[in-house]
Symmetry: D2
Subunit: 313 residues, 4 copies
């Protein structure tokens, strides 16, 4: 990775040595207002996956399934173990265990690293026990609001889903945009629909019925990185687990976009976003730009937060 | 409660017998667009409290504190227990246990009940094990986006916080609005700042150093309920635990607004919202209306979801 | 089940209407002393399975894998997030989430039921929220200490493991005992080794590579129940998930021994006990009797407790 | 600590460089048989505290209270969310979150350290993420069975509990033994009753109603350490949180017995053992020796395991 990315651009120090939110800095008030101008109909799309879904949760198999359990409900009152409040008030309570990287989520910039340094040069040892730097908390203090563009690669390719072996190229992005008569502008949140997430809900074996997991996605390519850098993309979102191929095809290196885009350029990753209804709507009205809003939870020291992003048109 | 609320209005069946989101139905596309018109500067306020805060979490003491723990971090690699990915990629992962009613959250309509019936007449036994009806999931599928108005009661009363014994009246709401030269309009999300939440962070003993917990708040009053009903308020938010006095002063009944507003009228409750910076901004520019956006997680069967609401101006 | 067991014996009321430990009452001081007499060499066998085993945990797939996570360790100190105690003291802490029925465990008598009644006739609604009656707590207050006999069915059949289709009969038990030149005595804890648990550790597919899970085991048979009843067996232990075939072969009824032995006769079930080293030792010295000791945790309201049973010879 | 213990004895390497169980090695088969000889009546005392106790759990306030929740019970069936098995079988399931150092437990030898080294010289970095060395697992593979002696200091002092300021000396141990007409023998498990644990259940304020927590206990003293070393004590148990004063009175050093006894001599610590009924029994029959049996769970990488120790007489 060190050699592969030795000439790859970085944004370290661009926003000062104490910055922890990276390319999210691009999303200032002007960008909020630019995003708002895309909203014409007042339609709201909620783009998160279900948590605690009995069909399973689409995620890396090394991460545990969410567990939500009732602490108190009508059964507790009915069995006499808890008394109603004075006047007859009763209520249900619950708690949940959740893998913070498990369902639709935004990664903190301190989630990935190589060469012992995180985004902006922070020491990787600051991750020990809890993320002391670049946790999801400063992202959640800022909020993620901006102008987004959907590139619906599956629709462009006229397929239910790109295949697990498919490598998405920069040309694909540009041609897909062109086919949609749209274009990616500076500071746009880039949202890619591959259709992959739908396969999981059809049958998890379509994801996991192989010796090793892979998925359709972008991968490291110097021109692609240059494009992300010059376009000052604040965030990449897609309907896949990793937002990229698991391995760089020519070198076998693991997750080089997490390294070059997140760790080096400070670009936020929103993984496992659900885009099927939004994609259909964009096709029907021909408007592929929308206001993107995500509001991660302010979890102290966290590597990620589950989100239910909103797409507004 | 049954007797107290016998003539109190309800919205049951107003949106059909299978409705599970109640007054959230008021927040249609027109209301989204009305909310958007308040945004002038592109400022974003993130109104959630911190989760896993070492200072403690402001919540009912019967609910457990969130626990977030690392599953993998630089320490795990450094000790040789996990190997870097091919090329040197490393990453941190974590999971969390959280009381869903614990920090800033929105209640599902199935959270409170009396007389064995939830919102819209659903049987309270549907809460057993998990909320089969009126969980937070349909709310999270809809999203909460609308025109909100902040009534800053603490600022109006020129106090750091209303006292724990203070009962907020309908007249207080109207006079506070008048003092702000604003007014509450139909379908407005009503956001009340009491200053109470700030006391917790100053010193938890200011909340819990009494024999029983109480807080400043609204309470049951037929005129108040009538006003909420006629104004078609979709949601009430405040910087307190319960959005109301714990007990109705004259009868001692527990949480009668949860009964009359949530269970009978289907109004959403957002509790423990953090409003100090937003309040200061509204005072400085004299604009107390804003776009409110909350996007609860789609947790199957849940009584609530943690949220980090966005206020946009 | 009701019809199948209509003439099946019960011990309800045998130890009074408030009893919650059933056949554990057989294990009085005399039985403790009888068990002690089997100890000749002072050898101790610890018969629990590993918890949080990276190889997986042998258990029903509907139960979640244990998760143990560090709260504090050398990494936390090394990163400066926690300071050493005065003088330099440091320590590691952790916590765990565990399915109480997940690994080697003893069932509470309130775990299984039919016809809306638990052991001793308690109402099944007493299980709601927590076991109000017949939880594992009174068992843990009593302790489980007695004279046990191992019947090593796999060794008798000269096989690594009985096959998943194998139905163990009463005759099998008696013939196996005879082949070992031992006999089952009144009040003996009956411990059966099938070899099945070893298959899981060899390859979980040997357990789960079928359309539905099954395992070798006893199943309902009137003569078998009569024998358990007359022998006043206090506990049945085996190296399988359920201590019985999943389904009664001739009727298809689910888990009829849980019904007839646990719920009706009050016999304790210790499932997933690890017997390979104990079995080898018994073969080598020809002594199949041993002192069995298990000390479940006093978990209030629990359906089971993980245990690491001791076999002493 | 380094200076304080510079001449303090250690058992490192005594059982080889790969040993992870320390003084537990003293408890061989002969010691098991010696312990068994104390059993005359067949009486069994279960010495664990309750887990998930609504009265609270006696433990350091930095550790979280256990949470046990039902996954399935009669309510789940009654509400139609789960169907009975074929034939009518139903059952209850639950899971638990527990701080492994929280209630009655045995510490792993890797729990405490100073000077960056654990028991036997292992690097403290082996604790990162999980205890790679000296976890509770090898202790649980061995089992803890031996001859124990109870010194009932509270009874000797004719007090409900020693006071929180009380420092127990070696002379106290010897005089208390003498007053009981008993003596501590080589390889005895040393069990101390201070009465302190009973105060918690009377009122937690008797423990926590002070600016900082302290408790009656032993503390570092060269003669005491020498005595433990020469007596080859395998384990120390007491009815307190730490088995020692929080701070060494003359130097203020934190937990020097964890350092000198656990880390240097490899002696096991069983904390928070419940001794009130056992103490009363010993007084009534004048026999203070008993068979001690504890069987920690085989939790991979754990710093401790909850136990319900058995005292048998």
């Amino acid at each position: 990775m060190h050699d592969l990315l030795i000439d790859s651009p970085t944004n370290w120090e661009r926003w000062g040595s104490s910055d922890e939110i990276g390319a999210l800095n691009f999303l200032n008030s002007d960008e909020v207002l630019r995003g708002l101008q895309t909203v014409k109909k007042g339609k709201v799309f909620c783009l998160g996956t279900k948590i605690g879904d009995p069909r399973g949760e689409p995620k890396s198999t090394t991460r545990s399934h969410s567990t939500r359990l009732n602490v108190r409900d009508k059964g507790t009152y009915g069995s006499g173990k808890v008394q109603s409040g004075f006047g007859g008030f009763e209520s249900a309570d619950d708690l949940m265990t959740i893998s913070l990287q498990g369902t639709t989520h935004v990664d903190a910039l301190g989630h990935p690293w190589y060469d012992d340094m995180l985004w902006n040069g922070y020491d990787a040892r600051t991750t020990i026990g809890a993320l002391e730097k670049c946790s999801v908390e400063p992202i959640a203090e800022h909020g993620i609001v901006g102008h987004a563009v959907l590139l619906d690669l599956a629709r462009w390719k006229k397929t239910r889903s790109l295949s697990r072996n498919y490598v998405i190229t920069l040309d694909d992005l540009l041609e897909c945009a062109s086919s949609q008569s749209t274009s990616v502008l500076e500071h746009d949140i880039l949202v890619l629909r591959t259709g992959w997430l739908g396969l999981f809900y059809k049958d998890p074996k379509l994801w996991f019925g192989y010796d090793s997991y892979d998925e359709p996605g972008l991968t490291y390519d110097p021109d692609l990185i240059k494009w992300f850098h010059e376009m000052e993309i604040p965030m990449l979102a897609s309907d896949t687990v990793a937002n990229e191929k698991m391995f760089h095809p020519s070198t076998g290196i693991l997750l080089p976009l997490h390294a070059s885009l997140v760790r080096n350029l400070g670009i936020l990753f929103n993984e496992l976003i659900w885009l099927d209804e939004l994609g259909a709507d964009c096709e029907s009205d021909g408007q592929w730009e929308f206001l993107y809003i995500a509001s991660p939870l302010k979890i102290v020291g966290a590597t990620a937060s589950p989100i239910n992003p909103i797409g507004m048109k």
